[in-house]
């Protein structure tokens, strides 16, 4: 009960969007210290042992995106190396009820490993109960169900270095502004642990490390399609706005549309997660100054390997993070390679040459 309360409080703190409640580094939902994902690896003896086990895995994602595709690719490649067959991949569309349905459905195939992002600590405690009771090796992405114990109920939590992502966004924007100016903060107005931590890390870093940069406007967004309207309103209120932080790439595209429509080439934009239109603007010396990416492929690899830890009863560190990555014009192709394990899209490579 105590741990449940602590967890609820920790999550609630992350969700209140109050900068004061945010830690200075990425910590687990129960305050666990982070272990780099590169430390998650199997010995060759362990590899052989897993290979002979006829194991299966299911990937139960919260949504479908470039990000989940890259995590899936990393996990699939690693599972293939480990001789584990992937029997199901699902998308809950950010719907907790659907996630429970997905868990119940894939349990019919008796998977030995489940990789998933629990959408909501409260309802996922029930959603994953069957899997937990069946002794499935559970590896969670970014979030953990209420009351689940690491080591007994699940193997580990793997996530982006969320704080570093927000911090690096702040550092990149500050560098492009020469350390002073007026910026707007467009945050994700929803109870979603991942975006909330990243958004708050940006805000905290600006407030703490850059005294000459002022956040003149804060605007929440839940529907990315509305980003253009929001950006127009921000520009109307502060015509000499120097920088905008957009919580992820899709709203950043709306912000860019607004800036372009008003012929604004002054305001710098920083956002998180790779996206072709945003990266294209960046390499064409447009408004975008940097994109902070995560190593999604590496996340998937680490999750799959951690799944094997569970099968082997090998003790895993409680909280594993994959590094954050600042992608700018100079390293855009390397950024795509490290994040998604593929070359930057043709349009971007062409624009570079």
């Amino acid at each position: 009960m105590y741990s449940k309360q602590v967890l609820t409080t920790a999550i609630a703190a992350a969700l209140t969007l109050s900068a004061g409640a945010v830690a200075q580094e990425t910590v687990g939902p129960n305050g666990e210290a982070a272990t780099p994902s590169t430390e998650i690896a199997l010995t060759s003896a362990e590899l052989e042992q897993v290979k002979g086990g006829n194991h299966t895995a299911a990937l139960l994602w919260h949504t479908s995106s470039d990000f989940t595709n890259a995590v899936t690719a990393g996990a699939r490649d690693e599972f293939e190396r480990l001789g584990i067959e992937v029997v199901a991949v699902t998308d809950a569309g950010f719907d907790s009820a659907r996630q429970q349905t997905d868990v119940e459905t894939v349990m019919a195939r008796n998977p030995s490993v489940i990789l998933s992002l629990p959408l909501d600590p409260v309802s996922s405690a029930v959603a994953f109960r069957d899997a937990r009771e069946a002794g499935v090796s559970l590896v969670f992405l970014s979030n953990v169900p209420n009351g689940y114990e690491q080591g007994t109920d699940y193997v580990t939590i793997v996530t982006d270095d969320l704080f570093q992502m927000g911090k690096q966004a702040a550092d990149a924007l500050a560098a492009s502004l020469g350390g002073k100016g007026k910026v707007a903060w467009i945050f994700h107005d929803a109870a979603y642990y991942v975006t909330n931590q990243r958004d708050n890390a940006f805000k905290t870093t600006i407030e703490k490390d850059y005294p000459n940069i002022e956040i003149v406007d804060s605007q929440g967004i839940s529907d990315p399609a509305r980003a253009e309207e929001i950006a127009n309103a921000l520009l109307l209120k502060t015509p000499d706005l120097d920088g905008v932080y957009a919580t992820w790439a899709e709203p950043a595209e709306g912000v860019l549309a607004a800036l372009r429509a008003s012929g604004n080439d002054h305001t710098k934009v920083v956002t998180l997660d790779l996206s072709e239109p945003v990266a294209l603007d960046m390499v064409k010396d447009g408004n975008v100054t940097a994109i902070i990416a995560d190593e999604a492929y590496e996340l998937g690899r680490a999750m799959a390997t951690a799944g094997a830890y569970g099968l082997l009863d090998k003790a895993a560190p409680p909280f594993v993070v994959a590094p954050a990555l600042t992608v700018q014009k100079a390293n855009v192709n390397e950024g795509y390679q490290r994040s998604l394990r593929r070359d930057a899209p043709d349009s971007i490579l062409k624009a570079l040459n």
Binding site: F94, D95, S96, A97, Q100, E104, R109, V122, D189, S222
Partner: protein, 317 residues
């Protein structure tokens, strides 16, 4: 002669398309997934339990569509009712939580109905507006936070419990279908709903108070959505503002595939049940087949298009 036969045959197919389609889909998955756990009692029971909220909402919508109206606000009603019930049950007994949830659904339905019946606004626009309005209310109600439900009695009755060994969600589904079918087919209210949707002018001149009836079906639909919200809250042992958000299209698809006409006058409660089970079975089977998410969406979309095409195609005159 041959043409008449063909028309009769088509009409028959249209009427039973959902049952035939459901059996075909079941058969297909049973063959393809025979050793992948699809046909286990547990998996089949899962499908019925998972679709319980969709079925309950679909039954409400059968009445609304038959009366020639539509209710787009059901997704938001689900979230508001579930959250309200969960909040009330923090301090109060389950019965008050249930009353709060159902009451919220009835009130929102009443608001929809009053705007449609007495301000003569189209239900499509009214419920589109209240869909957004109450999505916002749901978000503010608990400031986006999930609310756990720790009341075991409630979680048992509306979620994971059993009655005489039958899972409670199966009981709710059965109850909703039996009661819904009875009211739809065997009562004066049901007959008036049909008459109003079929020909409002004729219904009015035969003495049916069609405005009051429109209000009635929207209140009914609101309460069905509220009950669906309670079922979600019981199954998840908690409520969240995103509950029901993505259900509207599934419910409409289930109802239409189940043989209810979009423009009123004709429908089927059993059809809606089978339509809802068809949707649930498709989701379940396509996942178990190991398809990628995009492939699942494409396959589901194609099957729905085919089913709707057969069930909706009007005979050429």
């Amino acid at each position: 002669m041959a043409q008449t036969l063909a028309v009769t045959w088509m009409a028959g197919l249209r009427r039973y398309v959902v049952y035939v389609g459901f059996l075909l889909v079941l058969l297909f998955f049973a063959i393809v997934l025979h050793d992948d756990g699809f046909l286990t009692t547990r998996n089949l029971l899962n499908i019925v339990q998972q679709t319980a909220p969709i079925t309950v909402m679909a039954i409400g919508l059968v009445f609304v569509l038959t009366a020639g109206e539509i209710d787009l606000s059901i997704g938001s009603i689900v979230a508001v009712s579930a959250l309200l019930a969960a909040v009330v049950m923090r301090e109060q007994p389950a019965i008050l939580g249930v009353a709060a949830g159902l009451g919220a659904g009835a009130l929102i339905g009443l608001l929809n109905g009053a705007l449609v019946a007495y301000l003569r606004l189209p239900s499509f626009l009214v419920t589109l507006a209240t869909l957004g309005l109450f999505a916002g209310v749901g978000r503010t109600l608990t400031n986006l936070r999930s609310v756990p439900v720790t009341n075991d009695l409630f979680n048992g009755i509306f979620g994971s419990g059993k009655l005489f060994g039958i899972p409670s969600l199966v009981v709710w589904t059965t109850l909703a279908v039996v009661v819904g079918h009875f009211f739809y087919r065997e009562t004066r209210f049901g007959a008036h709903v049909h008459a109003t949707g079929d020909n409002p002018a004729a219904a009015r001149s035969s003495g049916i108070k069609i405005q009051r009836l429109r209000l009635g079906v929207l209140v009914l639909s609101g309460m069905c959505a509220a009950l669906a919200g309670l079922l979600y809250a019981g199954r998840l042992q908690g409520a969240r503002y995103t509950l029901g958000e993505s259900d509207l299209l599934t419910v409409i698809a289930a109802v239409i595939v189940g043989g209810t006409r979009l423009n009123g006058g004709l429908g089927s409660v059993f059809g809606a049940l089978v339509g809802s089970l068809l949707m649930g079975t498709l989701n379940n089977g396509l996942i178990l087949m190991g398809l990628s998410v995009s492939e699942q969406l494409i396959a589901r979309g194609l099957i729905i298009v085919i089913a709707v095409a057969i069930s909706l195609r009007e005979p050429e005159r």
